[in-house]
Symmetry: C2
Subunit: 494 residues, 2 copies
Amino acid sequence: MAALDELKAYVREIAEISSAAALAAWDQRTHMPPGGAEARAKVAGKLERLAFERRVSDRMGELLAAAEREGASSEVDEALIRVWKRDHTRHRAIPPSLYQKFVETTTRAESVWEKAKAASDFGLFRPYLAEVVDLVREMARLIGYTDSPYDALVEEYEPGMTTSALRPLLGELRRELVAFLEELARGTPPDKLPRGRFPLDAQRALCRQALGWIGYDFQAGRLDDSVHPFTIGVGPGDVRVTNRYQESDPFSSLFGALHEGGHALYGQGVDPQLGWTGLSGGASFGIHESQSRFWENQIGRSRPFWQFAHPHLAHHFPTLASTDPDDVWRHVNRVRASFIRVEADEVTYNLHICLRFKIELDMIEGKLAVDELPARWNRAMEDYLGITPPDDAHGVLQDVHWSAGMIGYFPSYALGNLYAAQITAVAEREVPGFWDKVQTGDLLPIREWLREKVHRHGQVYLPDELVKRITGSGLSPDPFLRYVRAKYGEVYGL
Amino acid sequence: MAALDELKAYVREIAEISSAAALAAWDQRTHMPPGGAEARAKVAGKLERLAFERRVSDRMGELLAAAEREGASSEVDEALIRVWKRDHTRHRAIPPSLYQKFVETTTRAESVWEKAKAASDFGLFRPYLAEVVDLVREMARLIGYTDSPYDALVEEYEPGMTTSALRPLLGELRRELVAFLEELARGTPPDKLPRGRFPLDAQRALCRQALGWIGYDFQAGRLDDSVHPFTIGVGPGDVRVTNRYQESDPFSSLFGALHEGGHALYGQGVDPQLGWTGLSGGASFGIHESQSRFWENQIGRSRPFWQFAHPHLAHHFPTLASTDPDDVWRHVNRVRASFIRVEADEVTYNLHICLRFKIELDMIEGKLAVDELPARWNRAMEDYLGITPPDDAHGVLQDVHWSAGMIGYFPSYALGNLYAAQITAVAEREVPGFWDKVQTGDLLPIREWLREKVHRHGQVYLPDELVKRITGSGLSPDPFLRYVRAKYGEVYGL
């Protein structure tokens, strides 16, 4: 055990530094005065460097080798070695000078992207993106892969996932969803709810209440305002969420709260034993997203949920008191082809991902030049959704990911939706009276079930293993497709 | 310049880590959910260790030696070497095992002290305090001194200050103040203001406004609630204050805001050049305290200030609209012998310090056993203030400092009061129409004057040097004594 204990002490140090970094990131986006921005960038950079130096150090390599020789005697120890070895190997593959160049290039690209998006001018962003893509391709080459350089990238977000698995999966999803959209077009779209102004403080109160319903522990977290909602694990016992509010729309913030709350329940539900081991994150970005989508969509957009939640909504927003629960349920389940991914409904959302997957895959495999991006994007939008972006801001420039070098991340969003549907299908069988519980707001037993099945394990299992343990079989698009067909068929009266 | 540049890069790293530690400390006392406490203690400990390792490292010793050989070519570089060498030498003198023991002992002692204070049971705290005193004496021996082991301690808070300088200074202060208290007893004490309930949100609004009056920059800081008010420099451009509020008393929070605001103006006014050098703190704890006391007492408790501030007070608290400015001025300048230092008025406050100085000096010099503390405390309270504490909670157990091993700190509070009076006396001459400006709320020129004379220099000058630069002469109790005699003579109609 000596080698493993030494490894644990070493990764604990990294985890402690990362906790300080997480707090710095949280503060930066919630409370930091503007004057602190420059200093914060330096401090954040220093903390990242302190952690990074340790992750790629010779010492880490030695500790990992010694721990492997000694052998792990538990699943947790095995995972500890696996996770840190993967991290060490991947990051050691990148020479410090290249990594430095990557950080500098993406920092610059992200700030140019902001301007380019504001001006809807892809030409401005094009050379920076080209540089990012070149760097990412070089990094993929150094990390290594068998089939596609994209494999080396997607592995960062979805350990064990490959391009050859994603291609047919997202292909099927696309075909089925495009066909289903055509069916929906023959149905009856839901009516709109009365418009109004929904005071921000009432929205905040409702969101706080909703976090309580799903079992978010305010003793081990807090809710703040921010420009973009996010969840951050500051450390064991401290998992914070943020949200944003628009006066014209009380649902955007409510679903935001359920979404971030879902992420936060994962963090709050990890076995305390896994604290400071580096295993207290999610099994993957896709699995993490499944937990946010579970509460946001599977529960929050369900008919039984609105039976329960409608009186609370009406209490906070008297102008909605004249509606009935089904009006709201239909309203929050409208489907409409639209340009912006983050505003997309459940049916069209995955099409936005399929589009991005194909495009970034082709870029990374050298089959698509950056110059051709806008045309390719717009053509795909027409093929998948039947609409043409009016400009690049509503098209190829809408997402931050590529400017930040996060290529290979997008599939995780779709996987999250699929996993969420798979997990819901099991929960419906295993949690007695699942939908009755939702309808009465008795959501804690559902959180407990998720905690037992998903949350407590942190990163101990690979995503595929975890899904097999829960569902008895691997990743599949079928439960998701069944779910959207059933629900939206009902909403649209097909 | 090579050696100095290397030293600067090294201390910059320490400053960046310390910035992360400051943010962690701020968050812990303002926003952290209770569940995060255990993890935060570990993270704070890790950050402190990372900084400490560097402060005492062989590398630091080498860098300092090389920089000294190379020679400094500016006052700033000279101060940089002086400040870090002092830090390095003092901390190297303490073996890591002893320092570890000190941290553990004081952590335990502080938590026992809390219980002992709550139970007013000195016996509970006694053995822990004895251990702390033994450790601190041992540390003083290792750090080294010529005359008194207390010199080695007070140097931590007031560089250059000695026991032999403090003894006559605080002795004179005590004699003069005890005599002046007797005079005051023959005067007419001011009437009380109408009692009332002063809503916390109105207090918060007034405090925010008052911070604005004195020129606190909310773009480079923020105001939050906390159990004990404090100011913390998170980093360049980010100096935060906190405050607390009692419904029965609007003045406690207002003076708290002016006090913390005074500290914060120092931090906000440091020359940006000094950022990340370790020189952006105050010249000493006493000089820092002079800045808080300047705004709290010299300005905030002055007659002209209430000419200006009274309408604002009446606006926030309509029950006080029937008072006039002089009523408030008298009210906030009542003098009364009392048990608790932090609640003491300007005249009696320094007597609380004189008492603590004598007692801790005797403890450290081995002339007073911990067992005898309560009796000695109570006797001194009778001698200085003519009152006897009803119990140890209102006596020897009231302050946290000794439990935390902060012996040698108390004199800084008195020095702050003396420096504030010295600085005010110069400002009255140098800022045209000083009191007219106060009376019209035109306080920014006064902040500018302080910035020029005090703030911008950070730690570049030793306290004594700084005071000489400002006043033309060194530390003196005379301006303070003149000030209290003049003001309180007027308040009490002597």
